[in-house]
């Protein structure tokens, strides 16, 4: 929210711009400071200035208030502050030098908190950071890898992305890997990071090098940001032996180690914590410490082979919907979506895979009708943990045997969504779709449910 029209008019009349030093008088009160932009919230009639003490205050524009440009110059100490405050990128950046003898690794910077700075226009955290700039906050990288290339296809919050962005990231990653890099790090927003992780897992075929997605849960303006350590750990993984797509973020609230978790078995499980990204239905691939130690936690992973080339396969059908079955839910929403040309559905089902089956609210007739017309329905557990089992109860048998829904095994809803879009990008033949959905392409379906993986 900007200043009110009343304030804007006054500012224009006085020819005053954000960053100008101004004098505000109101009765006996008199203050001097830099005019700040209006932050996202607060009274639009309050003019915000930054005092020489560094503090911001707001003064309400009313009949008593007068504003003028200040004739005096600010104290020297304020100048540097001002540069920071107004978000001007400093020219004084230290040049990070990389050692060509270290393993070549590239970085694809795709926005998110990890590449953010405080934005004074909206009062929020904005993704505007020059990728070179945030690397300056992590000079340790130069001691681990030779960062050869930083590409910046877009700067975007993860909630604003779709499959087109996944395809762009995948193209950048494949190009770097096939031109000799040992691994690629992708920096990214965290809210929908696990969707991108799943997408890259399916898009990058014959992957024999590590691809690591990294984000930050705390913005980089603060000394406590987790982004730096996440990047350091990711660069250790990038030169390591695990040839998988995965997410590398804090394993605990401590700045102790990160978990590197397979891109198809990881999910953001908390809105705010550093250790929000947890492995689901599987152990993490490895524990990684910032000093370079890597402890393998899951031997079921591909090993590095630098002679192979990655093959890009990014075909994708975006008309796929995720629906949740819940008590009293109305299946006619499916009819509506089909009329809008939706071509496949992921149903988040209860328990072992139930949707309302008997009585008036049954989903069975609707699903049955559309399956017969060749539209695939795949179920995933809304319990998040565990596996769909089509055989235990008679209601399950009705859904999977008689109606023809596809049981998603222990696939996460988000992964099933990405995978169905990817499969439908290749074929619309129902039998082929079923076969592909039940085939493990990127470690998304595990054969065994291990006791220690629950709430890991």
């Amino acid at each position: 929210m900007p200043y009110s029209r009343k304030v804007e008019t006054l500012l224009n009349r006085k020819d005053v711009r954000v960053g100008d030093r101004i004098l505000l008088r109101s009765g006996p009160r008199s203050y001097e400071g830099l005019l700040m932009p209006k932050t996202g919230a607060g009274d639009p009639d309050s003019i915000v200035i930054k005092l020489d003490s560094g503090y911001n205050i707001g003064l309400k524009l009313d009949a008593k208030l007068s504003l003028s440009k200040s004739p005096s110059k600010e104290p020297d100490s304020v100048e540097e502050e001002e540069e920071f405050e107004l978000g001007r990128i400093s020219e004084k950046l230290i040049k990070l030098k990389f050692d060509p003898k270290k393993p070549p690794v590239s970085l694809v910077a795709a926005g998110g908190t990890i590449a953010s700075r405080v934005d004074y226009m909206t009062g929020g955290v904005n993704m505007q950071m020059d990728p070179r700039e945030f690397l300056h906050n992590v000079p340790e990288l130069a001691g681990i890898v030779n960062l050869k290339n930083v590409s910046n296809p877009f700067n975007m919050a993860s909630e604003d992305m779709n499959h087109v962005h996944w395809q762009e990231i995948a193209r950048d990653v494949a190009r770097r890997l096939n031109s000799g890099d040992r691994g690629v790090i992708v920096t990214h927003g965290t809210d929908f990071l696990h969707y991108t992780a799943a997408a890259l897992s399916f898009f990058l075929r014959n992957l024999t090098k590590p691809v690591i997605l990294v984000g930050a849960q705390r913005s980089t303006d603060r000394g406590s940001s987790d982004g730096g350590m996440n990047l350091i750990c990711a660069s250790h993984v990038a030169k390591g032996e695990i040839a998988e797509v995965g997410i590398c973020m804090h394993g605990r609230p401590d700045d102790d180690y990160c978990l590197f978790t397979r891109g198809t078995h990881v999910r953001k499980m908390d809105t705010q914590r550093r250790d929000a990204f947890r492995p689901i239905n599987e152990y993490p691939l490895a524990q990684v410490w910032p000093d370079g130690r890597i402890k393998i936690k899951n031997h079921n992973h591909k090993k590095r082979n630098d002679r192979q080339k990655v093959r890009l396969d990014t075909k994708f059908e975006p008309k796929v919907a995720i629906l949740k079955a819940y008590p009293g839910s109305d299946p006619s929403i499916i009819d509506y979506l089909v009329s809008k040309r939706y071509r496949g559905f992921v149903i988040e089902a209860g328990g072992l895979g139930h949707v309302p089956t008997n009585g008036k609210g049954s989903w069975i007739p609707t699903i049955s009708k559309h399956v017969k017309k060749g539209i695939p329905f795949i179920t995933t557990p809304q319990t998040i943990y565990g596996r769909i089992n089509p055989n235990v109860y008679s209601n399950l048998r009705v859904l999977y045997k008689e109606t023809g829904a596809i049981p998603g095994g222990d696939m996460l809803t988000e992964v099933a969504y990405v995978k169905l879009g990817w499969v439908l990008g290749h074929t619309r033949n129902p039998e082929k779709v079923r076969e592909m959905m039940l085939t493990d392409y990127a470690g998304e379906i595990t054969g065994r449910s291990l006791a220690g993986t629950f709430l890991y």
Binding site: S46, K60, E81, F84, H136, R222, S225, D255
Partner: protein, 623 residues
């Protein structure tokens, strides 16, 4: 030492007070601010990273801290820590009670309140805040305060988060408690027009009195901290941190002024001598000390350096308890953790190194006017120590460096770190600006608390009691109960001793939860006493009983034996049960134990003894 004329010295001094507010919750979350959790349940380990980039360089203080490469360990307390303190969750809205209290304080200090309050992030990277910054907001500016010695301006009043408490310092780790983090604080800064040490004390005392007058600030050790800023002409701004004891404030001010005066004199003397900056060029002299048994040099490498013309300087007194030698040794301790050095201005006989220094002088061909310094340890350590010593000696020619110093219990201070530049400050984007309307301010002005000083004066004149007594009553926060008790006809000294020292004794000595007593309960007990339903001697027992058993009523307890009549009944009953005892030599002594078994907690032993002997006498008479 020299007598100081503060006005002539260009003395400038200001005080900054940090006072915890007595809110139930913390400033930005719903954790308890009580600091009563004593057992941490777990801990987390964190690092802080310097945030370069935006400003190109991190400022001197920031670099200094990060050079130390520290790990921070944070202890988590169950009722006093949530994800907000752990920097794992964005803040909740600013605590309205804390805002209210800080606005009251701001108004009492005649400050201007901004129309809109903005929470800022102030960069702090010593680990004392998990986020790497402290949240702070200005609630008042340009106020003033009057004391006997004159008026002082109030520059800023801010409401802010308290920092974590240091529980332990280890080699590369600092252990912090998260329970103190984000307890609401009000920070008050005066301008630098304080005139002399006594004035500093007056200002600090007056500020403290105003704060306590609100009845909304925390009391007790560590709940108020004052920093003192001092400079003189040609000297430098020095911030003395953590002055807890008000009576020491004048001493801190005087000693710091002395220190700066002495440093300026040293500088002038060196200039006159045309003293040249020294190069750190340590010589390996272990062979000279080979036969020494001193623990300082034994089994270690020893290096030495000669400072030409510097003899005698290190024993210059900067303050009555501090020589220049002490001062430099302290820098070395803080900066490189070294134990220090030995120099030729010291009494070398206490180390048994006189002979060795003689040889050393010959070895270096050093004259009497030169100072010879020795450092022992491994090579790297010695090199670093000598570098630092030389740096500080060369600084003497330049003048007084700006520093943050720690207040010591003897009224002196010691180096903590260089004075940081203005902390980087930027908006706390997770907080919404708060509008303060003229109506809110009018309401606050209308109901400002009466100052403690004026409350004390009123009590003195109204009840004709001494200033000390009135002071105690007012400071215990028991004025109303006191007034009630006295108006019921009880002796002022009796009521005040119950309400002040009496309750304090119950709390401290017997661990009675007296704070759970309501004002109504206390007043009722006083009423019972005034109506003779409760003997004076049993008033404290009754209060203690009520505090421990909140379910019991005064009426029941009084009729259950607290009144003298009831006590007498019990005593008579016990005597009649133990008639044989009356035949013994000292029946009071024999029976007292039996009687107290029943009456403990209802009446004082003194009262019971009195009743018991009266009753025994009575029985004997009737015989």
């Amino acid at each position: 030492m020299q007598k100081l004329n503060y006005a002539k010295l260009g003395f400038r001094c200001g005080i900054e007070i940090h006072q915890q507010l007595a809110t139930e919750n913390k400033l930005f979350c719903n954790c308890s601010a009580a600091m009563t959790d004593h057992q941490p349940v777990f801990e987390i380990r964190r690092k802080l990273r310097p945030v370069a980039g935006e400003m190109g360089a991190v400022d001197a203080a920031a670099a200094f801290e990060t050079l130390k490469d520290k790990t921070f360990i944070y202890k988590v307390y169950p009722n006093e820590t949530c994800l907000v303190e752990l920097d794992e969750e964005p803040i909740h809205p600013l605590n309205p009670d804390a805002l209210d209290t800080s606005l009251v304080i701001s108004t009492m200090l005649n400050c201007e309140v901004p129309d809109e309050i903005h929470v800022m992030r102030k960069t702090v990277i010593d680990g004392s805040n998990t986020s790497g910054f402290q949240r702070t907001a200005i609630v008042g500016m340009n106020g003033w305060l009057k004391t006997e010695s004159g008026k002082v301006g109030i520059t800023n009043v801010a409401v802010e988060e308290d920092a974590c408490q240091i529980l332990e310092r280890r080699e590369n780790e600092i252990v912090y408690g998260l329970n103190r983090l984000a307890i609401p604080l009000v920070e008050i800064g005066t301008d630098s027009t304080i005139r002399n040490p006594q004035h500093a004390k007056e200002v600090a005392a007056h500020l403290g009195m105003i704060l306590r007058s609100t009845d909304m600030v925390r009391r007790g050790l560590g709940t108020i901290r004052q920093d003192i800023n001092i400079s003189i002409r040609d000297g430098a701004r020095i911030e003395i941190k953590g002055a807890q004891d008000l009576s020491l404030v004048p001493k801190y001010v005087e000693n710091e002024t002395l220190r700066q005066v002495s440093l300026i004199q040293i500088r002038d003397k060196l200039k006159k001598m045309k003293f040249k900056p020294v190069k750190a060029d340590p010589k390996h002299v272990s062979h000279i000390f080979r036969d020494s048994n001193s623990p300082i040099t034994k089994g270690k490498q020893t290096f030495s350096i000669v400072i030409p013309g510097f003899a005698g300087f290190l024993k210059t007194q900067l303050t009555p308890t501090r020589t220049l030698g002490n001062e430099i040794a302290n820098y070395i301790k803080v900066r490189i953790g070294a134990r220090g050095f030995v120099h030729s201005d010291e009494d070398l006989s206490k180390y048994g190194l006189e002979g060795h220094f003689e040889s050393l002088r010959k070895h270096h061909k050093a004259g009497k006017g030169d100072n010879v310094l020795v450092v022992s340890g491994d090579r790297e350590h010695c090199r670093k120590t000598i570098d630092a010593i030389v740096e500080h000696i060369n600084q003497l020619i330049v003048g007084v460096p700006e520093e943050v110093r720690r207040a010591l219990e003897n009224g002196d201070s010691e180096f903590m770190r260089p004075l940081p530049g203005a902390a980087r400050m930027y908006p706390e984007t997770d907080a919404v600006p708060i509008s303060i309307t003229p109506k809110t301010l009018r309401e606050i002005s209308k109901s400002l608390p009466e100052l403690l000083d004026s409350r004390i004066m009123k009590l003195e004149t109204r009840f004709r009691i001494s200033h000390d007594l009135a002071y105690q009553v007012v400071h215990s926060g028991m004025t109303e109960s006191f007034e009630r008790g006295v108006s019921l006809g009880l002796e002022p000294t009796f009521v005040s001793s119950i309400l002040t020292s009496g309750l304090t004794q119950l709390r401290r000595k017997d661990n009675v939860p007296v704070d759970s007593l309501t004002e109504r309960e206390i007043n009722k007990v006083l009423e019972f006493s005034s109506k003779k339903k409760l003997p004076k001697e049993s008033v404290l027992e009754m209060l203690s009983r009520l505090a421990r058993n909140p379910d019991e009523s005064i009426e029941d307890l009084a009729s259950d034996g607290f009144s003298e009549e009831k006590l007498r009944e019990t005593v008579r009953r016990i005597i009649s049960r133990n008639r044989n005892a009356l035949k013994k030599h000292n029946p009071e002594k024999v029976l007292m134990g039996e009687v107290m078994k029943e009456l403990r907690g209802k009446a004082s032993g003194k009262l019971v003894m009195k009743i018991l002997s009266e009753e025994i006498k009575c029985i004997r008479k009737t015989r």
